[in-house]
Structure formats: structure tokens, C-alpha cells
């Protein structure tokens, strides 16, 4: 008998009574207030700001310029983006875009877009030491807790949202869910999840030294959210 079989046999030796199936959906449905999009955006913004994140509004056309001006104000030299992403392409259209191998060349005062190309093993040192900021696209968000939902993939890797000290997130406001349960149901998480889903609700922080809050523990010190609003529907 293996350890597995022995553990399972012990658990099966005393079958407990079956309590009724918990009604999780009912709990969340009963608490959800009807709200329009601006109300939902306002809830998300309030929760994010309470968690020390910066929140900015932008249009579909205007967000690259907004990002550029924020980056300039913060003195950021470069920005890591996923390769072959629509938002990366939009930025590249607005700015010059060298690849990660050209990281240490070019004028310092201009924001340079660096593409996350190749496996992390091939440029881990530069990623950890040479990148000022990263840009992710959020798949959706949760208004209740001020949470951004990222589904990293081949184009937009996991460390993009973790290693650079400043993290920009682009979010389309039409994708915001009321609460976590709604996100799980609407996006059908039960059918299967990718290698990694990460829920981000502020900059990295710790209170491990005498309960004193400090930002930038191991992840980004700053979280900057750009809300991309859909153009008003044509009359």
C-alpha cells in the first residue's frame, strides 16, 4: 500500500455525514446592488486608491500619450511590454521601440519601450536590474475590492507585472465585474484556468516590521492604473 492509499483508506474509514451543498451563488446574488457603469468604475477607483494605487482616466486614442506623460513625470527611462500585444503596438506607434537586447543604448531622457522577447532565462539579470516599469493589460477587474485580474500568457509573461518597480495596468472599464464571484461565473473559471491568474489590488506592501506599512516589499512600489473608457455610443 502506498502513502496515498493509506491516507485515503484512513479518511474513508469514518465517512462523515453529508451537509447540504453551500449556496455560494445565492449569497453573492442577494448582496449585489444594481449599478450603472460609472458607479461601478467609481467603486473600483475608490478601492484602488484606498490601497495606494494611482488611477487615471483615458480615451482609446489618448492613453499612450497619458502613459508617456506619467512616465516622464516619474523620470522613467524604459517600459517593458509584452511582445505582439495590441496595446504594445499602440505604444510603439507612439514611441520608438527597441527590443530588449538594445536595453542599454539610446538617450536616457526618452521613454523607451522594451519588448519582453525570449525566455526569462536569457535576460533575467537585465530584467531584475535594468527595467524601470512594466505595462500589463488587465483581462477584467473587480469593483468590490479594487482588484485587477491578469491572465498572463505567452505574449504577456508573469514577471512583467512583478519585477519592474513601477507597474502600469491598462484596463477597459467595460470589463469590470461587481465582485469576485461574478468574475468567476461570467468568465467560467470552473471550465479550467491558465498556468497563472493573478489578482492585483495595489502596490506590493508589508507590515512585518512592527505593523508599520511599507510599500515596495518585493513587487512594484507603485501601481498605476489607466482606465480606458469606451467612446460614447453613437446616437
Amino acid at each position: 500500500m502506498t502513502a496515498r492509499d493509506r491516507i485515503l483508506a484512513k479518511l474513508r474509514a469514518t465517512p462523515p455525514p453529508s451537509p447540504p451543498l453551500p449556496d455560494v451563488a445565492g449569497w453573492f446574488d442577494a448582496r449585489r446592488q444594481p449599478e450603472d457603469l460609472p458607479q461601478r468604475v467609481a467603486r473600483l477607483r475608490a478601492a484602488l486608491e484606498a490601497a495606494h494605487a494611482e488611477v487615471h482616466d483615458a480615451t482609446h486614442a489618448g492613453w499612450p500619450a497619458l502613459l508617456q506623460s506619467i512616465a516622464a513625470a516619474k523620470g522613467l527611462r524604459n517600459l517593458l511590454v509584452g511582445a505582439d500585444t495590441p496595446h504594445g503596438a499602440s505604444l510603439e506607434a507612439a514611441l520608438a521601440a527597441p527590443s530588449s537586447s538594445q536595453l542599454n543604448s539610446g538617450p536616457a531622457q526618452l521613454l523607451r519601450v522594451v519588448r519582453y522577447e525570449g525566455n526569462v532565462e536569457s535576460w533575467r539579470h537585465d530584467l531584475f536590474t535594468g527595467i524601470d516599469a512594466g505595462l500589463s493589460y488587465a483581462r477584467s477587474a473587480i469593483a468590490q475590492t479594487g482588484t485587477l485580474l491578469l491572465w498572463p500568457d505567452a505574449r504577456e509573461p508573469r514577471l512583467l507585472s512583478l519585477v519592474p518597480p513601477v507597474h502600469f495596468v491598462l484596463l477597459d472599464t467595460s470589463t469590470i465585474h461587481a465582485d469576485l464571484h461574478a468574475a468567476m461565473v461570467v468568465e467560467n473559471w470552473a471550465a479550467g484556468l491558465p498556468a497563472n491568474v493573478v489578482m492585483i489590488s495595489g502596490p506590493s506592501k508589508t507590515a512585518d516590521i512592527q505593523q508599520t506599512l511599507a510599500y515596495g516589499a518585493h513587487g512594484p512600489r507603485e501601481l498605476i492604473v489607466i482606465l480606458r473608457h469606451a467612446p460614447p455610443a453613437a446616437a
Binding site: 462523515p16 478601492a47 512592527q210
Partner: protein, 477 residues
């Protein structure tokens, strides 16, 4: 190989708790921290009806999970297997460590970096790895501080809660290369961040715990604020997650209410900065993430708790630490006095299953049974009832129905048995009772001056000169 445990003998509990209550600086640290955490939690639950409803839901989900535990573990296993996560089963701490060592040998790993994992503390993981020449570095700021100081965590959520800013400043200046003395918390965190950053990239294996394992999707859910957990589970080429067999839930939707209960009860946050859901190793075309993910499921006595209809509730725990944050005993003696990986009320009810009652029974007695722990428990574990049950087991006669737990009867002593036998005799026979009480009031001058623990901080007990029944008999109608 015998299980490696680091619990100190039970006899030391009295001594350690006495030393702790006589340490005013440490008591101030704990009192301040407890007040802080209680306040944070209270602010998260302004609506008591919502809180009660959510606790009932949390309890129902955990009870449902436990009711179907063997089936859910099998489902988790097959789902993880389909997703490419390798699952291992360990009955003992030694077996769990051997599995991790075997993975390390096969991948020729020398360095591990670890996010917070209480189960890894429970199985003596760092010690076992270091004995085999493998370095394990703690990366959670609190755990890093505790490891630098050569100590163990004193709280399951805030490991370095017993240390002041000044103590940490001194520790960093002494132990971290290139760090000067500073008491500025931001500067101290920057020192920790800088020192650990390069170590993530150098590590061969990342170690983590698991907050919830989801059977239907084969997902490991990890909750954290710092980002070190994400680093440990993303940067090294191998990720090993270690958790107890009870952490499984059936559906992904079950995570939603439990997550809300966990973070609000633990640190008073409506959600932590990061909630990390891991379901697969790095997929073809992906540019980062571990190439192999392992999950080690640890029993270590949990099946003993499971076998008992009442004690099974112990396994509902989601490790938020609210019970210790509200415990008048924990607040006064701190985490280290318990001598076990899990301190406080949850430590008192879970440790006997992990380590046996022989070394842990004093913890069940170190409670006023005030019930604060059960009032705040997010999954409604009736902790005081379980404490009483464990006290009975510790006193149980061999062969009795109460004596089924490992180490049952460990608290029995010949003196105590004799005292209770005499008490029973006196109180069940009227003549003996009258004679005894008359003798005691007459012989009160002979009362001992030393009365054990009672006279350590109190004046000796002496019978009254007149018995109550004599005084009543003399009363005028």
C-alpha cells in the same frame, strides 16, 4: 527515518509562559500588535448580520469539503495530473521532506527560496534540507527577519510580531552585508528587498504553501501582500508547494467567500495585494514560470482528527490567526511560549494531532475557555469545546472511549487520581462529608503554607473557623 519535530517538552510550557509574562517589553509588543489586528478586523465587519451570514457560509463550505475529502483529494490529483502538476502524498514530516529532497537531487538543486509556509515549519523543512546540504532562504519579510535571528515565527500571519523596530534595525546592521543601522521602516524594507532580489534569480527551487487547493480546476491559491510568493512560484525553474490534506475545496467559486473571510479576519484587508492562482507549469511558448510544479500533500496526524466526529472541526481551519489575535492567553505569553509551530487557540487544538498529547496537553489547559476564539473564527470552529475534549483525552483512563488519541492519558498522575478519588468519596457520603469539614475547620492551623502553584503569587488557602452549615444553624429565624 523518524519524524523530525521541534516541540520542546511539555514541562517547559509553564516555565516559558512564566518567563513571557514577566517580560514587560515583549508583552507591550504583543499587546500593541493584538490591539492593532483586532481593530483592523473590526473595521472590516461593520455589519454583524453580514459577518454572521458569511461565517455560516464559510463553515458550510469547509464542512462540505471535509465531508467529501477523499473524493476531492482524488479529483484534485487527477485534475493536477491533467494540468501537468505532479502530486505527492506524505504521511509524516520525514516523508514530506524526503519527497522534496528527491526532487532537489533529481534536478541537482542547491538553493531553495521559500514564501511563507506554515506546513513547511510544521515538518521542519529548512532543517531537513540544510542537513542534506541544500540552502533554504526565507523571503517573506517577517520570516526573513526570524531566520536571520535564528528564531521561529511567533505568529502564523505575522512571524516577527515579537520583535521591535529597534531589534530589527540592530539585526540587519549585524547580519546583512552592507546594511547600516537605521530604524526607518521604509529603509529597513529596502534593505530586505535589495538583499533578497538577487537571491530569487539564483534559486533553483521555489517553495510555497497553499491557502486553498481547488479540486475541480486543479488550482493552487496563494494569498500574500509582498510579492515574494509570486517570485518564489515564478522565477525558479521548479516550484514545490507543500500543504495539509485538509486544504482542498471542491469548486473555484468556494474560494470567493473563504478568501473574503481569510483576509478580513487575518489582517483586516478586504483582499490581499496579490491572490495568485497556479494551475499549470510553464506552457509551450510561455517565457517565464516554473517548468515543473509539484504539490506535496501532508497528513502528519490530520487523519487522526478526521476520524473523530467532533475533532474533525479542527480541520475546517483556514489559518487566519484571528483566534490568537483575540486570545487573552496568547496576548500575554506570545507565540514562542507554546513551543509548537502553531501557537494560540488553533495551536492548542491542532498540535495534539500533529505531535501527540504527551508533549502538547498543557496547551489545552492554557485557556480560560472565555470563547473569544470561537466568536471570531471565520469558519465557526467550536474551539473551547475542542479544548475541553482534549483535556478529557489527556486525563483519560487507558482503554476508555476518550483514550483514542495519540498520547491520551498523558496528564494523568497518581496524586491527581488520589485527590479526585478522595473528593468523590467525601462528596458522595453525608457522614464522611460532615466529619471531614468539621476536621478541616478544627485543624485549620495545620494548613500547609506551600500550596503549589496557588501560593506562588497568592496567600495560602485556609479553611474558615466555622463551617457554613454551623453559621446557618446559628441564624435566628
Amino acid at each position: 527515518m523518524s519524524p523530525i519535530t521541534f516541540v520542546r517538552p511539555a514541562g517547559d510550557f509553564d516555565e516559558r509562559s512564566r518567563a513571557a509574562v514577566n517580560d514587560p517589553a515583549q508583552r507591550k509588543n504583543f499587546r500593541g500588535a493584538m490591539d492593532f489586528l483586532q481593530g483592523k478586523r473590526r473595521a472590516q465587519f461593520p455589519d454583524s448580520a453580514e459577518l454572521e451570514g458569511l461565517r455560516m457560509l464559510g463553515e458550510a463550505i469547509r464542512r462540505h469539503s471535509l465531508a467529501h475529502l477523499p473524493r476531492l483529494l482524488e479529483q484534485l490529483e487527477s485534475r493536477c495530473h491533467a494540468n501537468g502538476i505532479q502530486l505527492h502524498w506524505a504521511e509524516t514530516p520525514a516523508a514530506a521532506n524526503a519527497i522534496a529532497l528527491d526532487i532537489a537531487r533529481r534536478t541537482e538543486a542547491r538553493r531553495m527560496i521559500k514564501g511563507k509556509s506554515m506546513v513547511s515549519e510544521e515538518i521542519g523543512f529548512n532543517h531537513a534540507m540544510q542537513e542534506s546540504g541544500i540552502e533554504v532562504l526565507e523571503s517573506d519579510m517577517g520570516e526573513y527577519i526570524v531566520q536571520l535571528a535564528g528564531e521561529t515565527p511567533s505568529h502564523i500571519i505575522m512571524p516577527a510580531i515579537h520583535k521591535t523596530r529597534q531589534q530589527i534595525a540592530r539585526l540587519f546592521a549585524d547580519k546583512v552585508a552592507g546594511a547600516g543601522y537605521t530604524e526607518d521602516v521604509d529603509a529597513l524594507i529596502r534593505i530586505g528587498r535589495k538583499s533578497l532580489r538577487s537571491r530569487f534569480a539564483q534559486a533553483d527551487i521555489g517553495i510555497s504553501g497553499v491557502n486553498f487547493a481547488v479540486a475541480e480546476t486543479g488550482t493552487l491559491c496563494l494569498v500574500e501582500n509582498e510579492g515574494n510568493g509570486r517570485m518564489c512560484t515564478t522565477v525558479p525553474s521548479v516550484h514545490i508547494a507543500i500543504t495539509g490534506i485538509e486544504k482542498v475545496v471542491e469548486r473555484i467559486e468556494h474560494v470567493a467567500p473563504l478568501l473574503s473571510l481569510l483576509t478580513r479576519s487575518a489582517t483586516g484587508q478586504d483582499i490581499t495585494t496579490y491572490v495568485n492562482l497556479i494551475s499549470r507549469p510553464r506552457q509551450p511558448g510561455e517565457k517565464d514560470g516554473p517548468r515543473a510544479v509539484h504539490l506535496i500533500l501532508v497528513d502528519n496526524g490530520r487523519t487522526q482528527a478526521y476520524a473523530d466526529a467532533q475533532l474533525r472541526a479542527t480541520l475546517q481551519c483556514i489559518r487566519c490567526g484571528a483566534c490568537m489575535n483575540h486570545c487573552p492567553v496568547y496576548a500575554r505569553i506570545g507565540g514562542h511560549a507554546y513551543g509548537t509551530t502553531y501557537p494560540g487557540p488553533i495551536g492548542a487544538i491542532v498540535s495534539p494531532h500533529l505531535l501527540g498529547l504527551e508533549s502538547t496537553y498543557p496547551l489545552a489547559f492554557a485557556s480560560t475557555l472565555c470563547g473569544a476564539c470561537a466568536d471570531v473564527c471565520p469558519v465557526r470552529i467550536p474551539i473551547p469545546e475542542l479544548l475541553v475534549r482534549l483535556r478529557n483525552a489527556a486525563m483519560a483512563r487507558p482503554g476508555s472511549a476518550q483514550a483514542l488519541l495519540r498520547g491520551s492519558g498523558a496528564a494523568r498522575s497518581a496524586l491527581l487520581q488520589a485527590v479526585w478519588a478522595a473528593w468523590s468519596l467525601v462528596y458522595s457520603r453525608l457522614g464522611v462529608y460532615r466529619l471531614t469539614s468539621w476536621l478541616m475547620s478544627r485543624g485549620r492551623a495545620l494548613s500547609p503554607v506551600e500550596q503549589g502553584a496557588w501560593t506562588r503569587s497568592r496567600t495560602p488557602l485556609t479553611p474558615a473557623p466555622r463551617r457554613l452549615r454551623d453559621l446557618l444553624g446559628n441564624r435566628q429565624p
